[in-house]
C-alpha cells in the first residue's frame, strides 16, 4: 500500500516536472508571465511530492517491509533505526530517489529567491532544473524502482515486479540481507549525502549559466547570483571527498585514504572543474575576461556531476560488458551527451557576444597566473579521465585489456599538484593587469628565504634527504609564509590605522573581505593537507608478521606486543575477533590497541577495523589479519607507520572552515565583495 503510494507520488512529480518545463517555455515564448509563474509553482510542488516518496521508502525501510526487494537488499532485523533510515542511500535505487529529493529541494529553494532584477532567467532556470529532475525521476520510476516487490507464484517461483502479476501473492520475508557492513560507519553515513549535496548544488550555477546563454545576457550577472551556490556545492563536494578518505582510512584496512579507484575519481573530477571555475570566475568579475571559458567549465562540471552520480553507484568501469548489461548506462550516457551538445550549441550561438572586455598583457599578471591554475586543474582532469577510460580505449582498439593503477595517477599528477602549490604561493603576490619578474621578486624574496629555512633546512636537520619530499615541504612552507604574510600585512595596516589589537584586526580583516581571506584560509588548509600527504605517500613503512602470545613486531621506533585475543558474538549479528596489543615507542609504553575483525553473519562479509595510535607526528596503524582459531595462541598482524597523516585531517578541517568563511552571507553581497570594474558592462551590474 505504502509502496504504491510512494511510487504514485514519484509518478505525479514526473508529470508535474513535464508540465513545468512546458509551462515555462510556453510562457516565455508567448510572453505570458502567468504561465512562468505556474511553472515556478510546479517546481515548488515537486519538493513535497518527492518528500512523500522518500518518506514512504524510509517508513518501509524502518518497518522492515522485506517484500520490497530494495528493503530486503539493504536492511535486516538486526540493524538499528538510524542505519535503516540511512539505508535510503545504501543502494542504487534508493540513492537515486535521494538524489531527486535533494535536487527538488535545491531547485525549490532557488525559485523562492527574489527575482526582481533577473526575471528573465527564471523560466530557463526552471527548465534546466526540471529537465534534470525529470531525468532522474524517469530512472527511478522505470529503471531502478525502489518500490518493486517480490511476488510468489503458487509453484513456489518468485518474480520481482511493481504490480501484482496474475496468480501470485506477495512473498512474506522475515529478514533482509542487511546493509553492506562496510557502509555501517559514521563516515559512510554522511559521506554519500555530502557528495550528493555537492553534486546537486552544482546544477544551480549550471542552470543559471544556461539561462544566461538562452536569454543572451552576456554580463556576469549569472556568476554573481550563483557565487554562493557554487561555493556551497564545492563545500559539500569537498566535505564528501574528505569524509570518503577518512572512511577508507578507518574502515577499509589498507592503511591509506585514497586509492585512485574509478569511483573516487568520478567524484573528484567535478571537484576539479568546480575548483577551476571558482578561480576563473574571479577573473571574469574583475576583468571581464574568460567568459567562454567559464561557460565551458560549468558545462563540464554539470556533465561530470551526472557522470559521477552514475559511476559512484554502479561500478560500470570495471568492464565494458558490465556497462552494456545495465539498462541505465546508455540512458546516462545519452543524457550526458545530449546536455553536452545542447549546452555547447547554445554557447557557440552566443560566442561572439561573450567576447572578452580586456586582454591579457603580462604573463605574470594575476589573471595570467589564474589561467595557468585553470590549465593545471584541467590537466589533472585529463589525466584522471584518461586513466579511467584507458582500459576501454585499449580494449576497443587493440583487443588487449590494459589498466593503469595508482602509480599512473601518482606519477602523472604529482608534478601538476606541485605546480598548483607553487602558483598558490606566487599568484596572491602578483598584481592584476601588469606584473613583472621584478615586482614579483620584490614581493617574494622575504617569504622565499623564510620558506627555504623552514621548508628545506628544518626537514634536513630532522634527517629528510629525499628531494621530492624536500621540494614538497619547501612548497608548503612557501605558500604558508606568503599566505600568513598576507594576513599579517592586512592586520598590521588595520592595527596602525585604528589601533585595534592584532587578533581583532585579523578577525575584522577576514570579516570584511570574506572571499579573499576565506580563500587564503582554504589555501592554508591545502598546505596542511599536502604536508600529511607527503608524509604518508613518501614515508609510509609497513611490516607484517605472525607472532605467538607475548611475541612482538618491531617497526621503526615502535614495538607492538601481542597480549591476547578474544572471540565473541554480538547482539547485532557479528562475530568479533579482537586482539589486545601493547605499543611501545623507544621502549616506553605509549598505548594499547585493539585491532579487530568483524564477521557479519547475514551478509557473510567481514570487516577489518584497524587499531590506530594517532598523533600529529605519526600514526601507528595495526590490522589483525589472521589468527589460529583452535588455540588463539598465534596471530598475524600488519603494521603500518604513517608519518604526518593527521595533518591531512587537520588540513581538511581548516579547508572546510575557510570555505565556510568564504561562503558566509555578506550584508550586501554583490556590492561589498567585488569592486566595480571599468568596463563597458559595468553599468549593467550595479
Amino acid at each position: 500500500m505504502l509502496a504504491n503510494f510512494g511510487y504514485g507520488a514519484l509518478l505525479v512529480s514526473l508529470l508535474v516536472s513535464f508540465y513545468g518545463v512546458f509551462a515555462a517555455i510556453y510562457g516565455v515564448r508567448k510572453n505570458k508571465p502567468a504561465w512562468v509563474e505556474s511553472a515556478r509553482l510546479a517546481m515548488l510542488l515537486t519538493f513535497p511530492l518527492i518528500t512523500i516518496a522518500a518518506l514512504s521508502l524510509i517508513l518501509l525501510l524502518v518497518n522492515g517491509n522485506y517484500e520490497l526487494e530494495y528493503v530486503s537488499s539493504v536492511t535486516s532485523n538486526s540493524m538499528p533505526l538510524y542505519l535503516r533510515v540511512t539505508a535510503l542511500w545504501g543502494g542504487q535505487a534508493g540513492s537515486l530517489i535521494f538524489w531527486s529529493w535533494l535536487m527538488s529541494a535545491f531547485a525549490s529553494a532557488v525559485t523562492l529567491r527574489k527575482w526582481k532584477r533577473d526575471r528573465e532567467f527564471l523560466p530557463w532556470v526552471i527548465v534546466v532544473s526540471l529537465v534534470t529532475l525529470a531525468f532522474f525521476l524517469i530512472l527511478v520510476i522505470f529503471f531502478e524502482n525502489a518500490f518493486e516487490r517480490i511476488w510468489r507464484f503458487p509453484s513456489g517461483q518468485f518474480e520481482v515486479a511493481m504490480f501484482q502479476p496474475a496468480g501470485t501473492i506477495l512473498a512474506t520475508m522475515r529478514d533482509g540481507q542487511g546493509l553492506n557492513p562496510l557502509l555501517r560507519h559514521p563516515g559512510m553515513i554522511i559521506h554519500p549525502p555530502m557528495l550528493y549535496l555537492g553534486f546537486v548544488a552544482f546544477v544551480i550555477p549550471y542552470a543559471f549559466a544556461i539561462a544566461a546563454l538562452v536569454t543572451g545576457r552576456n554580463d556576469d550577472r549569472w556568476i554573481r547570483i550563483t557565487r554562493r551556490w557554487t561555493l556551497v556545492a564545492w563545500l559539500f563536494l569537498s566535505l564528501g571527498l574528505l569524509l570518503g578518505g577518512r572512511w577508507a582510512y578507518d574502515v577499509l584496512g589498507w592503511g591509506g585514504y585514497w586509492g585512485w579507484d574509478p569511483v573516487e575519481i568520478a567524484a573528484f573530477m567535478p571537484w576539479l572543474t568546480g575548483t577551476a571555475f571558482l578561480h576563473s570566475v574571479m577573473i571574469q568579475e574583475k576583468r571581464g575576461m574568460l567568459k567562454h571559458w567559464n561557460m565551458v567549465l560549468i558545462i563540464l562540471t554539470y556533465c561530470l556531476v551526472i557522470f559521477g552520480t552514475f559511476l559512484t553507484r554502479s561500478g560500470v568501469l570495471s568492464s565494458v560488458h558490465a556497462f552494456a548489461q545495465s539498462a541505465i548506462g546508455p540512458l546516462f550516457f545519452g543524457f550526458i551527451g545530449l546536455t553536452f551538445i545542447v549546452s555547447l550549441t547554445l554557447l557557440l550561438q552566443r560566442w561572439d557576444s561573450l567576447k572578452s572586455e580586456a586582454h591579457m598583457t603580462s604573463m605574470l599578471s594575476r589573471e595570467a597566473l589564474f589561467l595557468l591554475n585553470n590549465l593545471l586543474f584541467l590537466s589533472i582532469l585529463v589525466v584522471c579521465f584518461w586513466g579511467v577510460i584507458f582500459p576501454l580505449i585499449s580494449e576497443l582498439f587493440t583487443g588487449q585489456k590494459v589498466t593503469v593503477g595508482p602509480p599512473f595517477y601518482e606519477r602523472a599528477t604529482s608534478p601538476l599538484f606541485a605546480g598548483l602549490l607553487l602558483l598558490m604561493g606566487v599568484a596572491p603576490l602578483a598584481a592584476w593587469r601588469h606584473s613583472t619578474a621584478k615586482t614579483l621578486g620584490r614581493a617574494m624574496w622575504k617569504p622565499f628565504i623564510f620558506s627555504v629555512v623552514i621548508g628545506i633546512g628544518l626537514p634536513m636537520v630532522m634527517g629528510v634527504t629525499e628531494w621530492p619530499a624536500l621540494l614538497g615541504f619547501w612548497l608548503c612552507a612557501f605558500v604558508l609564509s606568503v599566505t600568513l604574510n598576507e594576513f599579517w600585512r592586512g592586520a598590521l595596516a588595520r592595527h596602525r590605522r585604528s589601533s585595534e589589537n592584532l587578533g581583532l584586526a585579523v578577525w575584522r580583516l577576514a570579516g570584511r573581505n570574506r572571499r579573499r581571506y576565506g580563500g587564503y584560509i582554504i589555501h592554508l588548509g591545502v598546505v596542511l593537507m599536502a604536508i600529511g600527504i607527503i608524509g604518508i605517500e613518501l614515508f609510509q613503512t609497513e611490516t607484517q608478521g605472525t607472532v605467538p602470545q607475548g611475541g612482538s613486531i618491531t617497526l621503526g621506533d615502535y614495538t607492538v606486543t601481542y597480549k591476547s585475543l578474544a572471540i565473541f558474538d554480538t547482539a547485532d549479528g557479528r562475530n568479533v575477533a579482537r586482539a589486545v596489543l601493547d605499543v611501545e615507542k623507544n621502549g616506553q609504553p605509549v598505548a594499547q590497541l585493539h585491532p579487530r575483525r568483524d564477521f557479519y553473519f547475514e551478509s557473510q562479509q567481514q570487516m577489518t577495523i584497524p587499531g590506530v595510535r594517532s598523533t600529529m607526528e605519526d600514526d601507528l596503524y595495526v590490522l589483525l589479519v589472521d589468527w589460529l582459531p583452535a588455540t588463539s595462541q598465534g596471530a598475524s598482524f600488519k603494521v603500518y607507520h604513517n608519518p604526518l597523516v593527521n595533518w591531512l585531517w587537520l588540513g581538511g578541517l581548516v579547508f572546510i572552515l575557510g570555505t565556510l568563511v568564504a561562503a558566509w552571507p555578506d550584508k550586501d553581497p554583490e556590492e561589498a565583495v567585488v569592486p566595480v570594474r571599468h568596463s563597458t558592462y559595468a553599468g549593467a551590474d550595479v
Partner: protein, 172 residues
C-alpha cells in the same frame, strides 16, 4: 575599433600565451604517455601468459584464473602462500556463453588438460581463497615460471548471484 599599434603588440602578447599554452599541453601529454607506459598493467589469461613466455618477464601483469583447492599451501608463520590456478577465458561474453562464471570455474578446475600456473604470494591468506574461486592476481612472472603476486583479489561467484529466490524460499 582597435588601432594597429595596439593590435600588433597584442598579437605579440598573444603569441607568447599560445606558445606557453602549447608548452603546457605538450608537457601534460608527455606526462600522460610516459606514465601510462611506465605503469600499464596487462590483463592476461593463463593461456596467453604461457604462450607469451619470457617476453612478458618483469612486466606488471594482471592474471585471472580458477583456484584449484587442493593446491593451496599456506604457512601461517612465514605467511608464504602458494596455489595453482587453471586457465579461464578472459572475455566476459565468452564466460556468459559458456554458462556463467560459476560453471566456467568449475569446468576449469575439473579439467586436467587446462593450462595451469603456480602462484606464490607472501601475506595473510584471504578467506575467499578456496576451490573454484576466481583469482585476479597482480604481479610478475618469474624465471622459474611461477607467478609472483603482489596483490590478490578473489571472487566467489555464488556470492554475487541474485540471492533473492534462495532467500525467499528459505523464509516462506
Amino acid at each position: 575599433m582597435e588601432q594597429t599599434a595596439i593590435s600588433e603588440s597584442k598579437s605579440n602578447g598573444r603569441i607568447k600565451f599560445i606558445i606557453g599554452g602549447l608548452l603546457i599541453v605538450a608537457a601534460v601529454v608527455y606526462l600522460i604517455i610516459s606514465s601510462t607506459k611506465a605503469s600499464a598493467q596487462y590483463f592476461l589469461t593463463v593461456d596467453e601468459l604461457i604462450n607469451k613466455g619470457s617476453s612478458v618477464q618483469g612486466r606488471d601483469l594482471r592474471l585471472s584464473g580458477a583456484v584449484i583447492g587442493d593446491s593451496i599451501q599456506y604457512d601461517p608463520q612465514t605467511l608464504n602462500l602458494t596455489f595453482t590456478i587453471a586457465s579461464i577465458p578472459g572475455n566476459n561474453k565468452e564466460i556468459e556463453q559458456l554458462g556463467g562464471l560459476a560453471e566456467v570455474l568449475h569446468q576449469a578446475v575439473s579439467d586436467p588438460n587446462r593450462q595451469r600456473i603456480q602462484v606464490s604470494y607472501n601475506g595473510p591468506k584471504p578467506d575467499l581463497l578456496r576451490n573454484e574461486a576466481q583469482a585476479i592476481i597482480t604481479g610478475q612472472i618469474g624465471q622459474d615460471g611461477t607467478f609472483h603476486a603482489d596483490e590478490l583479489l578473489l571472487k566467489c561467484p555464488t556470492k554475487y548471484e541474485e540471492a533473492v529466490p534462495d532467500q525467499a524460499e528459505g523464509s516462506s
